[in-house]
Symmetry: C2
Subunit: 137 residues, 2 copies
DNA sequence: ATTGAAAAGTGTGCGGG
DNA sequence: CCCGCACACTTTTCAAT
């Protein structure tokens, strides 16, 4: 289904999703038209789900990045999911197996902001917080 | 340092990092030239770190996505970090506080692949695995 | 900092191997 | 599936405000 050329295209876009068809084609090598056809197919099949961005939150004034896992109280899943959109601090939230139900990446200004966020969370369940130290990969 | 226009630009690029300067400018509104200048500055300041891609791993034949946290054995951090590049299954690895040292996102074909991967990991430490069920945000 | 304008480069639609 | 062409649009550079 996916050949090596598709994988190479995905790899290039992973490194720079703003790369032009011409640029990608030079690295394969393949004509810009063919690169475009393949990318269109990858988009239609939803193998490519989105083109997005990595930002440095610390340089944006958000010095604390944390993982928070939460063990939701019985019956709180729906209200928690409904509340997700109202918290810009939550950059990612994922349902997982295990004693905690949800894994979140959360971005905060400082310790006080973290405290307020956790105080809010304990309405929904029992949170466990891990500070992010550095990205290895 | 960052005004509302910069934040809006980042928001738009977050939703679609292939958006043209003209497109972004229409949403602000601002001329394409000004959008470009601002984005260039954000790149120079490394507030924008990378333009990247979200793919559907299950549609690429990788049906298992998991979080694995590992409590590294004493003295194993350096060799583990050096080994990271040789495992394409590891899509992300982050040093964290708490009883585990590293949090990883790992993408695998099936249960057998997961088993082999965990067998490899126990050379470095004690892993804890959580299956990813669905992305809420 | 923002803009518009000209030249170079790219995306898009389509025809054909 | 791959390619090239034509045309519209975009990026890039630059001078002016």
């Amino acid at each position: 289904m996916l050949d090596k050329i598709d994988l190479k295209i995905i790899e290039v876009l992973h490194q720079n999703s703003r790369a032009s068809f011409v640029e990608i084609g030079k690295l394969i090598p393949l004509s810009a038209s063919s690169v475009r056809e393949r990318i269109q197919k990858l988009e239609e099949l939803e193998i490519i789900k989105a083109y997005t961005l990595k930002v440095d939150y610390s340089k944006m004034g958000y010095g604390l990045e944390v993982f928070i896992m939460i063990k939701l109280f019985s019956g709180k899943l729906e209200s928690f999911m409904a509340a997700l959109d109202s918290f810009p601090e939550i950059k990612r939230a994922i349902r997982i197996t295990g004693s905690h139900n949800i894994h979140m990446k959360v971005v905060l200004k400082d310790q006080l902001h973290l405290q307020r966020f956790i105080d809010m969370l304990i309405k929904y369940g029992e949170p466990t917080t891990q500070l992010i130290l550095s990205e290895l990969k």
